[in-house]
């Protein structure tokens, strides 16, 4: 498990491997992102909005000298936007040599999830969610949606192309 290359994570068959996930909530739903992908967990502060950019982009911020593009996951999932003052967290992700921050509601714990708990996206899942989800893990008490980080960060490239 430890020798999995984070870059290749996208191509893995999740039903056949066991992976560590960081859990998080977005709009009340439990999500998970493989630990290998996450560089940081931070509290987003002083985000500079980027006018004219897509709705999903919160803006840019300075994370220890690096410029991080912050993505509002709620927008990606078509959820209502955050009320002012509502708590938020961010997970830092590196992709293609660039830094991104996914803004979420809160971060939970790290879970080791095995393949037999995994199922691909349910057929009746909303299209918007289907784009952002890589499948679902059946936890004992609830369901955990695997956030498809790569797709999430690609939304604008396809848009701009």
């Amino acid at each position: 498990m430890t020798d999995i290359n984070p870059e290749n994570l996208g191509g893995l068959d999740l039903s056949s491997i066991t992976l560590d996930y960081v859990t998080m909530t977005i709009g009340g739903q439990l999500f998970g992102v493989p630990v290998l992908l996450i560089h940081d967990v931070f509290s987003p502060a002083s985000i500079t909005p980027v006018p004219l950019s897509g709705n999903e982009i919160s803006g840019v911020l300075n994370l220890r000298g690096r410029i991080v593009t912050a993505i509002e996951t709620r927008k990606c999932l078509g959820l209502p936007h955050r009320d002012t003052g509502e708590a938020s967290m961010a997970i830092g992700i590196e992709m293609g040599g660039e830094s991104f921050g996914l803004i979420i509601d809160s971060v939970g714990e790290v879970l080791t999830l095995s393949g037999d708990m995994y199922e691909p996206n349910p057929a009746n899942l909303d299209e918007c969610w289907r784009q952002a989800s890589k499948g679902v893990y059946r936890l004992d008490d609830k369901l955990l949606v695997v956030l498809d980080v790569e797709k999430l960060l690609n939304f604008n490239q396809s848009l701009a192309a």
């Binding site: 500079t48 004219l52 982009i57 803006g59 300075n62 593009t69 660039e98």
Partner: protein, 898 residues
């Protein structure tokens, strides 16, 4: 040791290390073209550099090795282990030579005939059979076999890599090559000690630091700055804190550290040019040419990383300019060009980019030969080729394997150069283009984005957000609104600023970026565009106009506040934001906040699209402009004072560049022999003088046998725009000013110059003109005159339709067109003006329309005839103010209500 040499050694050593690895990979997959191309380029670079440094032995070896590789690349030779071994052997030989060079600063005695002979043989196919080398001597056979064996076994315990006979006199040195590779391991203890010493001597002068480390340093310093700022903030509150003094010290040290780290990354481009004078000198000797190298803007600072990457391409290009661009000495003499060819290097910042130009005054690119080459290489089907513009064809030289040099010289000509150049430049996100005129020379333009550089930027506030505008494009700042003389005015919601009697188009940053919504909306990144923004709102409070210049375009960016100018480090915007043309980068300010850097070029494009939208809206909305808006092609040029001037393109017969030597003063005029006649040359700007040397750009106006050359300083562009003269001019020679490409431009009154220098210009030209309720019909058979009168009358505020013949005019009448005034020439072929007037009078439709006759014969007798025919007024063609007066008068008397 020579700086140049030591740099070469370090660089080549690195290259060779790469080569070893590449070659081994290559042998495993001989069909991989990318690897082969890489190898080829590396060897080519080594060869090229050797040439300049006068290292004939090295050069010779590299040259043959390159030949063999070239044959691999072209598929002439198949790649066999034996052949690769041979290449490796020659690389080892190069290493040995380099090692010697490093210790002694000169090449060892002797030559490499033997190796070269085998390489040449290989190039001719002598080694093509699997493992069946046909070496020229028994000695080399063993050598090659040893190499091969060694290569295959990977573990070698004998030092080798040199043909031992070559460097006999330097046995020990051979063994201590500091350029360790899997193939040459020194076994001797003593020699490795020596090796250390030698290595250090070379490396003490400069340290090669991985850019990542510099980048990391930079990041850490930014962090330090942020922390310092936080601390400062904490201490600020209480003045006599014990921390105050240490804080100040920390602050200073941090600032210095920041400066120093920044400096490690920035270097003047002159550093990359240092090699060039010597290279030029050597080339000029090699090729027997006289070459003068001019360097401008050497102080332009570039990010170190960028600099490294463009160094080689630049060298290649300069070499190309000298070798292919400049003609031979004899040819230049024949052509009457100065013997010394000029190669000019220029570097400057422009609109968020660094531009590097390499210009030569040589023969230019031979388009025909490029075409042949394209066809012979089957790059493009012949039919398609025919449709391509000259420039498109010229750009093919950037394709791999493309060289138009007739023979392969040691300087260049293997078609590797431009290909490498393009690849290297594209790696750093730059672009390369060229302009070439046969016989006049070529200019290569490299454009490198600023993404890695530090720029000085103006920090502004708009709608509560901070932005940076690169200082380079900022021309001036104007304060407007409350308590200021400058007032922002609106025309149909388009904002304009009067700036020194010119109208400056404005764009409000907050509107452009939709910042109003961001503020009003709870969600800070809602992107729906608020359509209606009250036009008066902007005038109530004080605002600043950042007058910005992008290329020829000048416009104002309206912002709420202007802060400081700061040196900022440009960081590229994230790929998911890169499609936004408004930003050229992001930066972190001293206080740790991230702000976007505005790309003035992107804004300029927005200004453009806004304007054209408006133009369309106008056409839609205002129905009585049913004839739409004619666009006119205008030639923009510079003459005299800085402002651009323009003249309708259709008036110009030809654009010429006349050698200054051909211009002869005579009787107070400058004359030139042009197409068998004497043509006067007049400078557009009365005070200005013609150029002293080189070629003078001239706009040639010809009508029949007469011609006049208007000398200008520089031809800038041709634009297709609606000619909307905003301000009529009283100054002779000017019709007025119009905004072309967002820039106030003076429209030249060509007639002024023509009549001034050829008083009889308008005799016999026959024109006729008509006008109707603010719409004027102009009938004139001379295209020249029509084109001149049209802008003139539109300058006076009328809508002009011009036709060539009387019958066209009558056609218009029959189709139901209505005009308020008809201006017609008298002398016209077929139906003359008088007949036209009679025809118009006879018909009810236009029966009442005033007719004005234009003529160059204004005798009382002629006038009488005209009035009989039905003309109301007579006016001389050369008297433009009288014409305008008459139009005004006639239309006012008529009381036309339009």
């Amino acid at each position: 040791m020579d700086d140049l040499l030591s740099e070469f050694l370090t660089e080549t050593a690195e290259n060779l290390e790469v080569l070893d690895v590449e070659l081994i990979t290559f042998e495993k997959s001989p069909n991989d073209k990318t690897i082969l191309n890489n190898i080829f380029r590396l060897v080519h670079t080594i060869k090229g550099t050797c040439g300049f440094l006068d290292l004939p032995r090295l050069e010779a070896v590299a040259h043959v090795a390159e030949t063999v590789l070239g044959k691999f690349r072209d598929g002439v030779l198949t790649v066999t282990p034996a052949a690769v071994t041979l290449i490796l052997e020659s690389l080892d030989q190069i290493k040995e030579l380099l090692a010697y060079l490093e210790h002694n600063a000169s090449e060892p005695e002797g030559d490499d005939k033997d190796l070269i002979a085998r390489l040449t043989l290989a190039a001719e196919g002598g080694l093509s059979g699997e493992g069946s080398e046909a070496p020229s001597t028994a000695h080399t056979e063993t050598d090659a076999e040893a190499l091969e064996r060694a290569f295959e076994e990977a573990e070698v315990d004998v030092p080798f890599g040199v043909t031992a006979d070559v460097l006999e006199n330097d046995e020990t040195e051979n063994e201590e090559t500091p350029l360790t590779s899997s193939l040459s391991k020194p076994t001797d203890q003593s020699s490795s000690v020596q090796e250390k010493n030698l290595e250090s001597s070379l490396k003490n002068q400069s340290i090669r630091v991985n850019v990542d480390i510099l980048e990391h340093l930079m990041t850490m310093v930014s962090e330090l700055v942020l922390t310092r700022n936080q601390l400062l903030q904490m201490v600020r509150g209480n003045e006599d804190s014990e921390f105050k003094v240490p804080m100040q010290r920390l602050s200073n040290v941090t600032a210095e550290l920041q400066d120093a780290v920044m400096k490690t990354r920035m270097q003047p481009i002159g550093n990359a040019w240092k090699k060039l004078p010597r290279i030029i000198r050597d080339i000029s000797q090699d090729l027997d040419k006289k070459i003068e190298l001019n360097m401008q803007g050497a102080e332009t600072e570039l990010d170190r990383q960028v600099l490294e990457l463009i160094k080689d391409p630049l060298t290649h290009m300069v070499r190309n300019s000298c070798d292919h661009g400049l003609e031979s000495l004899e040819k230049r003499r024949e052509l009457g060009k100065p013997e010394a060819g000029q190669v000019t290097l220029r570097a400057y910042h422009e609109g968020g980019h660094i531009i590097i130009e390499i210009e030569d005054d040589g023969q230019g690119l031979d388009v025909e030969r490029i075409k042949e080459k394209i066809l012979s290489k089957d790059l493009v089907p012949a039919a398609e080729l025919e449709t391509m513009s000259e420039q498109q064809i010229q750009r093919f030289i950037f394709n791999p394997g493309f060289s138009t040099a007739e023979k392969v010289t040691s300087v260049s000509g293997r078609g590797v150069g431009m290909d490498v150049v393009r690849t290297n430049i594209e790696v750093i996100g730059g672009s390369i283009d060229l302009r070439s005129v046969a016989g006049k020379g070529s200019i290569f333009i490299i454009k490198i984005p600023l993404t890695l550089a530090i720029v000085s930027a103006l920090l502004v506030d708009s709608g509560g957000f901070k932005f940076a505008i690169p200082q380079l494009s900022v021309v001036e700042l104007v304060r407007s609104g409350a308590g200021s003389d400058s007032v922002i005015e609106c025309v149909n919601k388009t904002q304009l600023l009067r700036l020194r009697n010119r109208l400056l188009p404005l764009i409000t940053l907050s509107e452009l970026l939709g910042l109003e919504n961001i503020n009003s909306d709870a969600a800070p990144h809602d992107n729906e565009v608020n359509e209606e923004i009250a036009p008066t709102k902007t005038q109530s409070k004080a605002q600043f106009v950042v007058v910005t210049q992008v290329g020829p375009q000048r416009f104002g960016i309206v912002v709420d506040n202007v802060f400081d100018t700061e040196e900022i480090v440009v960081k590229p915007v994230s790929s998911i934001l890169r499609h936004l043309p408004t930003y050229s980068g992001t930066t972190i300010l001293g206080d740790g906040s991230v702000i976007m850097i505005i790309d003035p070029a992107g804004i300029a494009a927005k200004v453009d699209s806004h304007e054209s939208d408006d133009a369309e809206n106008k056409v839609d909305a205002v129905t009585h402009f049913d004839r739409g808006m004619d666009t006119t092609s205008l030639l923009i040029f510079k003459a005299g004072s800085g402002e651009s001037k323009a003249v309708p393109l259709s008036l110009i017969t030809r654009l010429e560049e006349i050698a200054v030597g051909d211009i002869e003063p005579s009787n107070g005029q400058n004359l030139v022999q042009y197409r068998g006649r004497l043509m006067p040359i007049v400078h557009v700007s009365p005070g200005a003088t013609l150029k002293n040397e080189g070629r003078q750009p001239v706009l040639v106006f010809a009508d029949g046998e007469r011609s006049l050359g208007l000398a200008v300083d520089e031809i800038v562009d041709i634009v297709e725009e609606t000619l909307d003269i905003e301000m009529a001019s009283q100054q002779p020679g000017l019709i007025g000013s119009a905004v072309l490409k967002e820039k106030a431009t003076e429209i030249i009154d060509v007639s002024h110059y023509l009549t001034q220098h050829q008083s009889n210009w308008f005799d016999n030209t026959s024109d006729s003109t008509k006008i109707s309720s603010r719409r004027i019909l102009l009938v004139d058979d001379s295209a020249f005159f029509r084109n001149m009168m049209k802008p003139l009358i539109s300058a006076a505020g009328y809508d002009v339709t011009a036709v060539e013949t009387a019958s066209e005019a009558l056609d218009l009448r029959d189709k139901g067109a209505a005009f308020d005034l008809v201006i017609s020439d008298i002398e016209m072929p077929e139906t003359d003006g008088l007949a036209l007037a009679r025809a118009i009078r006879q018909d009810d439709k236009w029966g009442e329309v005033p007719l004005v006759a234009l003529t160059s014969n204004t005798s009382a007798e002629d006038e009488e005839k005209g009035f009989e025919a039905g003309f109301h007024k007579y006016v001389s063609k050369t008297d433009r103010s009288a014409l305008i007066d008459i139009i005004h008068e006639t239309l006012t008397v008529k009381g036309s209500a339009a």
